[in-house]
Amino acid sequence: MPISEPTAWGQLPDGRPLHRWTLRNAAGARVDITDLGGTLLSWQAPDRQGSVGDVLLGHADAAAYLAATAYMGGIVGRWANRIRGGRFQLDGIGHKVDRNDGDNHLHGGHEGFHHRRWDVERDGEALLLRLASPEGDGGFPGDVRVQLRVALGDDGTLALAYEATADAPTPLNLTAHPYFNLNDRRDDIRDHVIRIDADEFLATDATAIPTGRQHVSGTAFDFREPAPIGSRLYWPDPQLRVAGGFDHCYVPRGAVGAAPRVVAVVAEPSSGRRLTVETDRPGLQFYSGQKLAGQLDRQGHPYGAFAGFALEAQAFPDVVNTDDAELGILRPGEVYRQLTRYRLDTL
């Protein structure tokens, strides 16, 4: 299906115009994307009855996106998730990056990729988004160039293919941050039923920095069999109390860097919609949306806690401060590649 001509969608504070594109598929789904942060503005998808509704949370307009703090729908970089103390060593040199989450670095710092204007062009059935991130961006070394190819398939798959290069070694960890609510008529995701194909997750300290791998067996984090999100929140589990819900990185099964494998499936009983997430990344952050209260919806009304959930494919949080640091580093001559797919169908 052809992609629409871009339409005007507000402007940046410096007056540069912003635009919106619409991707459609043969099944009647449509995805709206803007060049502001490569943000997924909405995803209209049919439910069990065939009636179409929006499965993404969103704000009202460009100004609202720029003022908000939930990374709503945006492409996150240079570093998705956290870096402890905003510090890391790379090739023997200490670096300090933006600290915007208490003492920690989060999601690219004060002006992450989700608030930049990306260059967007249509490329056949796909949309091509490009961003140049200069040396020193958020405190990170090296010039980085990112390209993201977005396509909506007739089977309901939204494919996000990332490529990036750098002219100096730098940490790089990209992700998309859409908040889903598969029931467009309810303001809560706690009755959604989730499956996560992971035997382990990363336990965290009070500032959400991983402290080590933990097996999911016998814990509220075991979603290897599908289970409702909401009733798990009441399991007596210290890790749930630390985060006020789920905000943890899982370690999905399967080979990293090979073809994407299914890492999570979320079903919503009432609408019959089902979301399947596939990725080639090592980690999958599951965030149950407990801190969404007060974020503004498209009408400017506040969302409640648990209004949406996020499943973010990524490298492990703070991996640059672990023995596996190299897994989070992009070097000159290498190409960072990620393929993540979100697929929506009905039961």
Binding site: R48, G218, A227, L347
Partner: protein, 392 residues
């Protein structure tokens, strides 16, 4: 260390209790927890000598008030499993309680019927008994929904199910159904109750789902087996309740105080079948004919028999079919047979020869011929293609 000895007190003759127990088993298998499980051999619990049980913990079905009373004096950890209550004071005191969310079970069934385009509703419950407080909770939830949404909503408790009173109970049920305004969406508090509705509709000549759309609760395979018309049913989170109960007991055995823990588990899905697929049809002839075809379509019926059942001439019936469904009666019968055959083929439990006969194709070669004509493939290729698309 010797494994903990745990009693599971359930009447596991119902699918719900079996799923709770399956969930407990999943939890044990996923962890290294070893429990020596005590269950009655016939999976029915008897409370009279539970005070003699020399074990370390109990998970029990508290829908049965006798269970609650019998366990009150027990000094070992007990985890209760049962239905949710809208009035929090009705929960047993000082016992962790894992509940199925009665209000959300009804809500899911109701939302489904609303989405089918229905505007009137009724609930088929069961008479009040100490052991069926969950049914009263479902009634309460139903009354709350229809009051809040200002729609018509009736409740019928019917009669208790006894062998002696069965004939009369069915008569009353048929009369109640006949007297309802139509079309209407019906929610039954269990699949067992929904099965009675389906049967009464057949007896009363009421078309399902055109006049009466039905949703049950439990997704019980047994209830499915006994119906000609596949039943839509809400799937309780019973396995998750079992996993949750096992986790809570596991923590108590480690010394955690969980007395005030209360976890209410929502339904995990709805199995949508024909019984609720209400489509507003204008022609009562087409409605009655479709109902007949759904019941007897695989038994070799012909257009004449359908017309006879509807009570109009063949020509009139054909005209109505052409106008409303854009097909002939014969095509509608064939479509029903093919749909049924495809479902059985994908189900993978019957042989093709068996399927050919069960769907009214009389022989395997004829089934092949019809598949060749309609789908341009053999039944086996149809299965392979379907597998390929679901796998990719």
């Amino acid at each position: 260390m010797a494994p903990h000895r745990i009693a599971l007190l359930f009447n596991a003759n119902k699918v719900y209790d079996r799923q709770v127990i399956a969930g407990i088993g999943q939890y044990l298998n996923s962890t290294r927890v070893e429990w020596d499980l005590f269950l009655e051999e016939d999976f029915r619990s008897r409370m009279r000598d539970i005070h003699l049980f020399r074990g370390d913990g109990v998970i029990a079905d508290f829908d049965d008030p006798e269970t609650e009373a019998a366990l009150r004096e027990l000094s070992i950890p007990v985890v209760a499993v049962g239905g949710s209550y809208h009035d929090a004071t009705r929960y047993p005191a000082a016992v962790p309680y894992i509940a199925t969310d009665n209000a959300k079970l009804v809500r899911l069934a109701y939302d489904h019927l609303i989405e089918q385009g229905l505007a009137r509703f009724a609930l088929y419950s069961i008479p009040e008994l100490p052991g069926s407080r969950w049914a009263q909770e479902r009634e309460h939830a139903f009354r709350g929904i229809v009051a809040a949404e200002k729609v018509e909503g009736l409740v019928y408790q019917g009669s208790p199910t006894t062998a002696g009173g069965w004939g009369e109970a069915v008569e009353h049920l048929v009369a109640w159904l006949a007297g309802l305004p139509k079309p209407i969406g019906l929610i039954a508090v269990t699949d067992a109750r929904a099965r009675q509705l389906l049967q009464a509709c057949v007896i009363g000549g009421i078309a399902v789902p055109e006049q009466v759309a039905i949703v049950g609760i439990d997704n019980d395979p047994m209830a499915q087996l006994l119906n000609r018309i596949p039943l839509t049913s809400v799937i309780q989170g019973a396995e998750e309740m079992g996993r949750t109960a096992a986790h809570v007991l596991h923590q108590m055995l480690r010394g955690m105080d969980c007395a005030s823990t209360r976890i209410v588990v929502p339904p995990v899905g709805i199995n949508v079948q024909v019984s609720s697929k209400f489509q507003p049809l204008r022609s009562p002839h087409v409605m009655r004919a479709s109902h007949y075809i759904r019941q007897y379509g695989c038994l070799g019926i012909k257009t004449e028999q359908v017309a006879d059942y509807v009570g109009v001439s063949r020509t009139v019936l054909e005209e109505h079919f052409k106008r409303e469904l854009k097909q002939t009666v014969h095509q509608a019968i064939l479509k029903h047979k093919l749909d049924t055959a495809c479902e059985l083929i994908l189900g993978g439990e019957a042989t093709l020869a068996d399927i050919a006969v069960r769907c009214g194709f009389t022989s395997l070669p004829y089934l092949y011929a019809v598949f060749r004509r309609e789908y341009d493939c053999t039944p086996r290729q149809y299965l392979e293609r379907h597998r390929a698309t679901t796998a990719s």
